[in-house]
């Protein structure tokens, strides 16, 4: 007897009110949640969309974050007595951005973006991705800023004293060292971002949670879809953590004695 027949037999018994042992009951639930009508395809699509959202939001977050961090650090490190009004304005904008984004819940930001600012848009996933990227940018900015400040002043002084300009000093000396210092924090931010994609389902984004929800509402059983996606998220986070560990070890090469 193959699994399809087994599922049909046991499913019929359940409908008839037969009290099945727990493992047979679980088999029916799992089969229904993942295999009936080729439902696993929906999870695969959900995972791919989730990864796409994470990647796009991460790129946007890092671009925004680095931009904000560089503006803020450049502003704070201006030579005494030199005040650039454009830089001061940009700095103020960056400060407001970071304060507002970090001071309001992610969920509220999604609701505002999805139901007020982009009210007429039907690209729910895209709006969600954009919101997530903007949100992540504020956190990345603070991480990067901390990283830039963590590099000893002597390093940029040495670079500048050799006649390198500000940008070259940042590019070859400060940023590579800062990057190594912030990698664990950036890795955490990436994992948080990956999990936060789940919130996008609240405004209709079609990612992994959306897939589980729609299957649950079709089969009238949410337990296995939800447990299933929990395991998928967990396994993927474990994979990312492992990969980040490898990257960190690579970057520590120059520390070996």
């Amino acid at each position: 007897m193959n699994w399809v027949q087994l599922y049909e037999t046991l499913g019929q018994q359940l409908k008839d009110g037969v009290d099945l042992p727990w493992w047979q009951d679980a088999f029916v639930g799992i089969y229904k949640a993942f295999f009936e009508e080729g439902r696993w395809q929906l999870y695969v699509d959900g995972v791919l969309t989730t990864l796409w959202i994470t990647a796009m939001a991460l790129i946007l977050g890092i671009v925004l974050g680095v931009l904000v961090a560089v503006i803020r650090t450049t502003h704070d490190q201006q030579r005494l007595g030199r005040h650039n009004p454009i830089l001061a304005l940009l700095n103020a904008i960056c400060k407001i951005y970071v304060t507002v984004i970090r001071g309001t819940p992610m969920m509220v930001q999604l609701l505002i973006m999805g139901f007020i600012i982009f009210k007429s848009s039907r690209e729910y996933t895209l709006v969600g991705t954009l919101t997530l990227g903007i949100n992540s940018g504020a956190y990345v900015a603070e991480i990067v800023r901390g990283g830039l400040m963590s590099v000893d002043m002597g390093q940029s002084e040495a670079g500048r004293s050799l006649g390198l300009n500000y940008l070259d000093t940042m590019r070859f000396i400060v940023i590579p060292q800062a990057f190594k210092n912030i990698l664990p924090a950036l890795g955490n931010e990436f994992i948080t971002l990956f999990k936060d994609t789940a919130l996008i389902s609240a405004i209709g984004g079609k990612e992994l949670v959306y897939a589980a929800k729609s299957i649950g509402s079709k089969t009238y059983d949410v337990m296995y879809p939800y447990l299933g996606i929990a395991i998928i998220y967990l396994l993927m986070v474990m994979l990312f953590t492992w990969l980040l560990g490898i990257l960190e070890r690579r970057l520590r090469q120059s520390d070996r004695r």
Partner: protein
């Protein structure tokens, strides 16, 4: 070569340098000594504008470097600096530490810079360390590399900010030896140090700083034999 006029520097309300005027001539080895907090490091760091003076002017070979319109990067390329804490770039090999600036500033090609790095490393006896990272070196080795790194820019003057103060005593000698060699080759040097032996032996002029002023200066033998100011006598009696 370097002309300093009415240089003042304050950090907030704290006046560190008080109206200093001084001239450094080509080929001179000026040694700056004085108690901690006397402003000697700040004075040195003002010379290549790592500290921005509060008042006064500094002119390097006719270029007024304190003028905000001056491209300070061009001036700094001609002034090497060696720091107390070496400040080697830990993310690069020794070779890369040395060649980064000359190549990026288009002073020479990577191949030329590599050749120069090998030659300079050989001179300080560290040619086998070219592919090592700074973390693998001792303090004395790091400081010799830092000197080589500054020399790779072919500077006209070298500024030393307490180059031996962070070293284990047994490593001071190897660094001073390199500096002495450099002095013998005719390099113009300004050295902030606590090494009185070096000041006496290598210096062509000694400046004694205290409280943001240059209290006394003289040719080293006369300076150490007959200090004139009471503050100088007191300082020397403590350190000699």
């Amino acid at each position: 070569m370097i002309d300093v006029k009415h240089l003042s520097k304050s950090f907030g309300k704290h006046l560190v340098l008080d109206d200093i005027s001084e001239h450094i001539y080509p080929g001179e080895k000026v040694v700056v000594i004085g108690p901690s907090g006397s402003g000697k490091s700040t004075f040195l760091r003002c010379l290549n504008l790592l500290e921005t003076p509060t008042a006064g002017t500094i002119t390097f070979e006719g270029t007024e470097i304190t003028n905000p319109k001056t491209n300070i990067d061009l001036v700094r390329r001609q002034m090497g600096m060696v720091f107390q804490h070496f400040n080697l770039f830990p993310n690069m090999t020794i070779r890369k530490n040395i060649t980064l600036a000359p190549v990026r500033t288009k002073l020479m090609s990577q191949a030329e810079a590599d050749d120069l790095a090998s030659t300079l490393l050989k001179r300080v006896g560290l040619e086998e360390k070219a592919d090592a990272y700074p973390a693998q070196l001792s303090g004395g080795q790091k400081q010799r590399i830092a000197i080589v790194r500054a020399l790779a820019m072919k500077p006209k003057v070298m500024l030393f900010d307490e180059p031996t103060s962070a070293l284990d005593p047994e490593m001071v000698g190897e660094v001073l030896e390199v500096m002495k060699q450099l002095a013998d080759e005719g390099m113009t040097m300004v050295v902030v140090t606590h090494e009185m032996g070096f000041a006496r032996e290598v210096g062509s002029r000694v400046l004694f700083m205290d409280g943001g002023h240059i209290l006394e200066q003289n040719e080293p033998h006369a300076f150490f034999a007959n200090p004139k100011e009471p503050r100088t006598i007191e300082f020397l009696s403590k350190v000699l």
